[in-house]
Symmetry: C2
Subunit: 271 residues, 2 copies
């Protein structure tokens, strides 16, 4: 399907765009089923928080209506929204009168082997560490060189994802997923105040767990805690939940809470 | 002047470009005088190092010849080269067969008030800290949100530049400049192994100082050391050298080594 720029079909972007020049913008990757963008409110909430923290002025009602229209035309697939601070004048200083540029791209549905969800995955131990930057932590911004470098560390198909630590050795997230672990019935995921992307599926699973009276904990996670976990899984808003069965020399069974949340994620992504 | 993409006049870029999607690329900002790109070899050397460290395949001979041709057509001004990893397939994994996309943009000469160079400048104390990422430190890559946020901290014209520290409080650089200080005749600048951009003018001034038997030191710099400096200045490859006369409550005179290197930088930028 054709891409849209600011609501119009387009296949090219201004060379002055600050998304290109500085990665000055945000993005969302949204599953589309039956013409509907899945988990739309959570995607829009994260986007709005990113705009607020980066002081990017955007017309959020217009973004919502364009997402709905584009998803309706796409039908089934994955929609990517890139929001940039528009064209650059010159230098890093943003134009205070700029309004965000909206770029919509449609792709066919992601096809992952069913075995990843059924049998679970092996995580590649990425050497690339996430840097600490509280001003950007949690946001899905366009400065993603750390993920590009981390994803370049392995080419085999044996590892469906990689695990990224921060410089202090804390367990943070996958390259394109968030990570959860279960220990003594408690669902735990990394605190993303220093680095990491606060995923939409992560937020939804935390919400659903709390609604089901499953204890949750957002905290710093060490490799020791990972080792002693009863269950480990990764998630994102496109594939849902993948159990993790191995990381380096560690291994885990696919556990019952993982299966429960996987079923729930599947339902959320199959409108 | 028209921009070029891969050697051809163009005003737009593929929406799939990884520079837009992830900031997956590098750039150089080059002064052009009399149709010549100034400090070309140093710009090309930094670019080649960036390509090597990010594993971006590029035709460096072609880049050189295009820069020379573009600068010849531009005559006087500032040339910006953006080099991206080309179009994205899907996801963070780079296409191993990709060759870098070359984007050339021309701007009129930068017009800064002469007083900045003559009387010196006041540095804004940026609250935005640079994060530690040795894999990216020194490179002029396209992930520049920290600079965008830092440059948004002040709008007045009283501050021509801002000073950025790292998370440990070390003095690193300006938002778009490198910083030097002089103490007891030694020319000092920050070690950029953790963060910062290794500027072309910084490299050239270090080289020139060494050639003139001026002692140089690349080291970690504290705010205490900055306070007790005899001279402070900032530099880049467009404006040359600006003496720093104030930062927060600190102030310095414009010193003789600053003037000497400023004259030298001016000569380097006035072919």
């Amino acid at each position: 399907m054709d891409s849209w720029v600011d609501g119009q079909p387009a296949d090219a972007l201004s060379l002055k765009d600050r998304g290109l020049a500085y990665g000055d913008g945000l993005f969302e990757t949204i599953a589309v089923r039956g013409g509907q963008p899945m988990l739309l409110d959570r995607h829009l909430a994260r986007l709005a928080e990113g705009c607020s923290r980066l002081a990017i002025a955007a017309d959020h009602a217009l973004i919502r209506s364009e997402l709905l229209a584009y998803a309706g035309a796409l039908g089934e697939g994955v929609l990517k929204l890139i929001l940039t601070r528009g064209d650059s004048l010159r230098g890093y200083a943003p134009d205070p009168s700029a309004c965000a540029r909206r770029i919509l791209q449609g792709n066919p549905p992601s096809v992952y082997p069913a075995a990843l969800g059924e049998e679970g995955i092996r995580l590649f131990p990425c050497a690339t560490r996430l840097s600490t930057q509280p001003l950007l932590a949690g946001l899905k911004h366009l400065n993603r060189l750390e993920q590009v470098i981390a994803r370049s560390e392995w080419q085999d198909t044996e590892h469906a994802e990689g695990l990224m630590l921060d410089h202090a050795g804390r367990v943070i997230e996958g390259v394109f997923s968030n990570l959860f672990l279960v220990r003594d019935g408690v669902l735990m995921t990394a605190d993303l105040k220093r680095c990491g992307v606060a995923g939409v599926m992560r937020a939804e699973l935390l919400f659903q767990a709390e609604s089901a009276a499953i204890p949750t904990q957002i905290t710093d996670i060490t490799l020791d805690q990972l080792q002693w976990a009863d269950e480990v899984f990764v998630c994102n808003s496109v594939y849902g939940v993948w159990p993790v069965r191995a990381y380096a020399a560690l291994s885990w069974p696919v556990g019952p809470l993982t299966r429960k949340l996987q079923t729930l994620a599947r339902a959320l992504l199959d409108a």
